[in-house]
Structure formats: structure tokens, C-alpha cells
């Protein structure tokens, strides 16, 4: 997730100080990790230089926390582009897991065990997300749903790979000869 674009989205609701911007970010997106103050101000400086935000007033007392920032037209264009375009689908663990399965088969270890161990870890993560979703509000539910669907996709890959271990082993054995 792009922190800069997320901050732009928060600024679109109205000008904010760096401090209140950090608080807004943490409220909506800081479930796993809150934002550092330093990161907020360095991101704002970058966006200021790029013309995506502008200063919209300074309160007496000085210091960066007294400056208010507003989104510019260029910032809105950037934000709209980000919101309107799909994210590139990323491969997750498959490469690592594929390597483990292949190495297990090549070394005569149980590839089923590799897959079962990963399955248990995935299901544990899904249990924790399900609990967090049940105990939380709608925002938690939406965030957890996304993670749950991705983990589920990984699990389906694990299942299918488990069903394909025998032909995969045959192929690897053939390639070794």
C-alpha cells in the first residue's frame, strides 16, 4: 500500500496538520503498524516538492507540526489514477513453497509434510484473522476479508500441489537421469 497516496486520500477530506494526519492514518490503516511521525513529515515534504500537496497555513509556534497541508489539483489527479487502476497481481509464497516442495522430493523427504506444515500455518493465520474480524468492526472485516481470500488462494494451491506430487516426483526423477 502506498503511504503517500493514502495520505493524499486523507487530505482530500480537508487540510490537516501532520500530527492529525498521522492519527487519521493510524485509525484507518494502522491495525498492523502505526505510522512514524518522521515518515509522515518526510512523505509530506516529498509530496510538497512534487506539487501534490501545498501548505495552507501555519499556526503560531513554528515547527513542522504547526503547518497545515492541503491536497492540490495534481494530487487529486494522482489519487484518482491510483483509485481507478487495478493493483498488479503479485505472486505470494508460491515461489518459495515450490522450491521447498521440489527440494523435498529431490532429497527424498516428505513433500506432503512440507505442504501440511504450510497448511497448518496458513490455517492458523486464517483463524486469527477470522477472530479479529468477528471481534472487530466493518473496517476490520474488510481488511481481514482481503487477507483471508489471499490465504485461501494459497491454500488451494497447496491442495492442488499435494494432489500433483506423484507426477511432479516422476518428472523430477526423469530430469535427474
Amino acid at each position: 500500500m502506498s503511504i503517500a497516496t493514502t495520505l493524499l486520500g486523507l487530505l482530500e477530506t480537508g487540510p490537516q496538520h501532520g500530527y492529525s494526519l498521522k492519527k487519521s492514518y493510524d485509525t484507518y490503516f494502522g491495525q498492523d503498524r502505526v505510522l512514524d511521525y518522521g515518515q509522515v513529515y518526510s512523505t509530506l515534504s516529498r509530496m510538497l516538492r512534487a506539487g501534490l500537496v501545498e501548505e495552507s497555513g501555519v499556526e503560531p509556534g513554528g515547527g513542522p507540526s504547526r503547518k497545515r497541508y492541503a491536497i492540490t489539483e495534481a494530487g487529486v489527479t494522482d489519487l484518482e489514477s491510483w483509485l481507478g487502476n487495478a493493483e498488479r497481481p503479485e505472486p505470494y509464497l508460491q515461489n518459495t513453497l515450490y522450491a521447498k516442495v521440489v527440494l523435498a522430493l529431490l532429497s527424498g523427504r516428505s513433500a506432503h509434510d512440507v505442504l501440511d506444515t504450510q497448511r497448518a500455518a496458513h490455517l492458523q493465520a486464517m483463524r486469527e484473522l477470522t477472530k479479529r474480524k468477528r471481534d472487530g468492526d466493518l473496517v476490520d472485516a474488510l481488511i481481514c476479508d482481503h487477507a483471508l481470500f489471499h490465504l485461501e488462494a494459497d491454500l488451494r494451491w497447496l491442495e492442488l500441489t499435494a494432489d500433483r506430487l506423484a507426477p511432479l516426483a516422476d518428472r523430477l526423477t526423469g530430469e535427474q537421469k
Partner: protein
Amino acid sequence: MTAAPLLVARDLHKSFGTTPALSGASAAVRAGEVLAIMGPSGSGKSTLLHCLAGILVPDQGTVTYQGQVLSDLPDRPRSALRRSAFGFVFQFGQLVPELSCLANVALPLRLGGIPRRAAERTAADWLERLEVTDVAAKRPGETSGGQGQRVAIARALVGKPSVIFADEPTGALDSLNGERVMHMLVDAAKDSGAAVVLVTHEARVAAYADREIVVRDGIARNLEPAL
């Protein structure tokens, strides 16, 4: 979890004709826990559930409920035990189509000898608990899939069973209704102290369980070593 298991299956074998369904499946269910039985289609997970519930008798191996070997019981007491100690939720509610939802939920109590009025009062409480009071007078065919499953959960829990067996309970529902049904099933079972044995091939459904076992080619691989 250190409590002694309520229900234990050891080394179950079961074939249908010449087709083996279980080839050494073991599982243990503790009081009040939610256990997911997972595995691909045709792996034997539903057969394992049916053996655990005493619906099927295994060819080899034993199923023990509170120290009593189920397969040692003649049909009638085994059926009586199923009625009093177990509740069932299937993929399609399997409610009696000619009866109202209220009468469906009251049915296990009526079969247990409780008078109609008292049975229906308890049934109405359960329909309220599952937020389906509005379908009490309707027949199952007049309800949505999600409502039907919530009525089925009410019927499964009305007799205060020790174990609920749920076979793909969300299999016919969309994601949102499936989620609601799972919330209600798990919450209602936990509140009443019932264990849930949940057969599913969906990881998101299994994630409601406290733990899972995996059946592959009729073999449940991971019975806890202490049992």
C-alpha cells in the same frame, strides 16, 4: 485443551462395496471445541463424520462416545443416543418440507416426548436466538438458503446436544450468508457448550474451528499423539 475427549474414533476402515472410503482414520473431539474435518472431494471426510455420529458403522475400528463404543450398541439405543446427544446440520437443511419452521425446530423435542406447547415455546426461543423469528410460520421451501440453515441450526441445538455434526453447512450459500451462518453456528454452540464437528473443503469455513484434521485418501493423518 487438556479435557478428556468426548468422542474418539480409532483406526476406522469403511468400504462401500469394493470402494474403500476410510482406510485408517482417527479423530478425537473434546467437549465444547470446534473441530474441522478437511480434505478434497471423495477423501472420506463425510464418511468419517457419519461414523463419528453413529450413522454409519465402521467395518473396522471403534468410535467411543463418553466411554461407550457406539458400534456395540444395537440400532435402537444408538438412534436414541443420536437423538439426545447429537445435532445435525447438512448442506441443504434437510428440514421436513411439510412442517412449519417452528414445528421443524420443535420436532426433536416432540420425538423426545415433550408436549407440543412446551416444545414450541423452546423452539420459538431458538428461532429468536438465530434471528429467524419471522419465518416461524413458513415452510422451509418458503425461506432463503441462509434462513433455512439458521432454522436447521436451531433444530440441531434445541435438544441441548453435546455434539453438533455439520456437513458443509455453508456449501449452498453465498459468502456473506455463509459467514453469518458460521458466526451463528459457532456462537450458539459455544454458548450452549456443544462441540461442533464441521466437515468442509473451504478454508475460510475451517478457520472458524479451534483446530482441524485433514483426511486424504481415507486416512486422517494427524490424530494427536497423546490419544
